[in-house]
């Protein structure tokens, strides 16, 4: 019993439907990132289970978990996590290399994905030559390249100013609506969650505090209606 087990997440039971946009809220250390890592298959629960599309992640082998991360999950991080030594195009097509997609197809898919986030002109630049917003857009393109059903975002606007943050969030919402991707977003900004998510889950000290649906706000409706 030498090692103390820290219960980052304890007894949280949540069910997320396909196509839902869920925000995980809580202060730092509340366990919201741990929940996200569990869903992402980056971490395994010491007890309990994480079931995604009828497979229990807790029971998958390391190899199967990698496959799951590759094909089912797309991830976006607060610090973008692009590989500094690679150009945007190379960063975006990296998951395709792991998926052993043909070279000729890869270039097209990467170009398309970058086009979708409006970075086609910058595809041969390295991340350090881009603004934070551009980097996060590239990270979104990378998350989308394998056409995952699940987009996991860990404080995606945390390192961005409010204007670029809005730009990124609009894109995430667009993917949610147009591509039918299920989105789980970790944030500590309640306003952001209320504006974009359909449901808010509150965590504190690794425990579930509240789980409530958001009725579409007037502002959202107006914006949504205006666009269509």
């Amino acid at each position: 019993m030498g090692e103390t087990l820290i219960r980052a997440v304890d007894g949280v039971s949540v069910e997320i439907r396909a196509g839902e946009f869920v925000a995980l809220l809580g202060s730092s250390g509340s366990g919201k990132s741990s929940v996200l890592n569990l869903i992402a298959g980056l971490d395994r629960p010491t007890s309990g289970s994480v079931v995604v599309q009828d497979r229990d992640l807790a029971k998958l082998s390391r190899e199967e978990l990698a496959k799951y991360r590759l094909h089912v999950v797309g991830m976006v991080f607060q610090s973008f996590n692009l590989i500094a030594s690679m150009t945007l195009a190379e960063n975006v097509e990296l998951p395709l290399r792991f998926a052993e997609v043909d070279r000729s197809q890869r270039a097209n898919l990467a170009r398309e994905a970058l086009e979708r986030v409006g970075l086609r002109a910058r595809m041969h630049h390295r991340p350090s030559e881009l603004s934070g917003g551009e980097q996060q857009r590239a990270a979104l393109a990378r998350a989308l390249i394998n056409r995952p059903q699940l987009l996991l975002a860990d404080e995606p606007t945390g390192n961005l100013d409010s204007h670029t943050g809005t730009e990124i969030m609009d894109m995430v919402r667009q993917f949610n609506r147009e591509l039918g991707m299920t989105v789980v977003m970790v944030t500590h900004e309640r306003a952001l969650a209320e504006r974009y998510a359909q449901r808010m889950i509150f965590l504190a000290d690794g425990k579930l505090i509240d789980d409530r649906a958001i009725t579409a706000s007037v502002a959202d409706l107006r914006e949504h209606g205006g666009r269509q």
Binding site: E63, R69, L70, F77, N81, L82, I83, F98
Partner: protein
């Protein structure tokens, strides 16, 4: 991941920390270079020696004599097979039969006789021997002045240096420095010698009448075995003077003057064996005291010897000495290889170090790759590919470096040898298999070095790796 992708990723990662990876790769290159240098020195030395030995004719030659000589080299042979009196005669038919044995290049008779040569109207007595045209390649004629025989039948002679000195009346006292061969040759080349010899000619049809009371009636089969001995003269042109002694191994029976083989055969010089075999051989069939058999390579000497012995002759070769020499070279080769590999082993520790450092630096990158779907195997493969790429690059550069070092030493050695007035040698040999072997060896040693770092990178926990700043 696919191999081309892996290679591409590995090379780009190597470029990222160019200095460190270059230094590591140079380390491997030096290791490979030392291995290549050592092994090619070993190969070169072995080649040089075996070429020398082959050229000297000592190790690929079997000397065949008849048991009827009663001069057996091997006592065991005396107890097996037919008695000397019953065994075969070493005549032209036997020579041809030996020449037809597998792996035999040629079998030529040893024609040698002691006779008188006149030069400048003074008589000189010496041993003369005949040489086949293949003897031209023999080491003993290195440094010879003049030329080898223009043809197998040309009336030409090559003199050994000491006999040339005798002809010129310049015999030096024992212990005094030997005269320079070029000086001896200058007045002699192109000059004429007159050789007096005893020719064996077919007998007149009627042998001398014998008195019946003195001898038993002779059986008819001996009628043809009679011949006459006629004194003859043959003019010879001196075409060459040899510096070394081509027959040093024969000791006191060595010849000082050499004639082309076919010429010597056509002269029908009286041979000592002619007397012994007078009752057996037909008069037109020469009988040889010994036949030299040249074998394709030293490895086949034993089997040829066995075949010749089965024909009922006595054989002699210096095989055992060459076998011992091969052993020495194998040991030398192993030692050179071990010392050469040491540097490569040290360099492989450099690979381990570089890759472990790279893992620390690229922790976050590994975390990202795992988060976006890289499996443990993918991460391991990337690091393996980097180790392998360093190995192959280092191997290629190292082979080139080793070859260059070899060339430099080769040139240096030859300049030194030239200054010491020795003939140049090819000390260094880099055969293609050594190139392939060295690069493959560097590759596998590097992969082995990558085993631990790659495993460590693969096991990295992505959550921790991503948290790391």
């Amino acid at each position: 991941m696919k191999i081309p992708d892996l290679t591409e990723l590995a090379l780009r990662n190597l470029r990222e920390s160019l200095l460190r990876n270059s230094l590591t790769t140079i380390g491997i290159s030096v290791g490979v270079a030392s291995l290549v240098a050592m092994l090619s020195l070993g190969i070169g030395l072995r080649q040089m020696f075996s070429q020398r030995l082959a050229k000297s004719g000592l190790f690929d030659t079997v000397l065949v004599t008849s048991r009827r000589d009663l001069r057996n080299f091997d006592r065991n042979d005396q107890h097996n097979g037919p008695t000397p009196g019953e065994s075969r005669i070493l005549d032209e038919a036997a020579r041809q039969e030996i020449e037809r044995l597998p792996n035999v290049l040629e079998a030529y008779p040893d024609i040698r006789f002691v006779t008188e040569l006149r030069y400048d109207d003074k008589p000189h007595l010496t041993t003369i021997s005949a040489l086949p045209s293949s003897a031209k390649a023999n080491d003993a004629f290195e440094g010879m002045q003049g030329d080898f025989f223009s043809s197998e039948t040309a009336p030409e002679a090559i003199l050994q240096k000491s006999f040339a000195a005798e002809l010129l009346g310049k015999t030096s006292a024992p212990g005094a420095p030997e005269a320079n061969v070029a000086e001896l040759a200058k007045p002699l080349l192109g000059e004429e010698l007159i050789m007096r010899y005893a020719q064996r000619a077919p007998a007149p049809s009627q042998p001398l009448p014998l008195r019946a009371s003195e001898a038993a009636p002779v059986d008819d089969s001996l009628a043809g075995a009679a011949y006459s001995v006629i004194s003859r003269e043959q003019k010879l042109k001196i075409v060459g003077v040899s510096d070394l002694d081509p027959e040093s191994m024969r000791g006191p029976t060595r010849a000082k003057v050499f004639l082309p083989l076919k010429l010597a055969e056509s002269l029908h010089v009286m041979q000592p064996t002619d007397l012994r075999e007078i009752s057996r051989a037909a008069s037109d069939q020469p009988v040889y005291s010994s036949v030299s058999v040249r074998v394709k390579n030293p490895g086949q000497v034993q089997s040829v010897e066995r075949a010749v012995k089965n024909m009922g002759f006595t054989t002699f070769s210096i095989l055992d000495a060459s076998r011992g020499l091969q052993q020495v070279f194998t040991v030398l080769f192993a030692f050179l290889g071990i010392f050469g590999s040491l540097a490569l082993i040290v360099a492989s520790i450099g690979i381990v170090n570089t890759l472990v450092m790279a893992i620390l630096e690229r922790r976050r990158e590994i975390g990202i790759m795992k988060a976006i779907g890289a499996s443990d195997g993918d991460v391991r493969a990337i690091f393996f590919a980097e180790a392998g790429a360093m190995g192959i690059l280092g191997g290629v550069v190292g082979v080139a470096l080793g070859w260059a070092i070899g060339q430099v030493i080769n040139i240096g050695t030859n300049i030194y040898l030239k200054n010491q007035s020795f003939p140049p040698v090819h000390l260094w040999a880099v055969p293609w298999w050594l190139v392939v072997f060295a690069i493959a060896f560097a590759f596998f040693v590097s992969l082995a070095a990558g085993l631990y770092p790659a495993g460590r990178a693969a096991r990295l926990d992505p959550v921790q790796a991503l948290r790391y700043e």
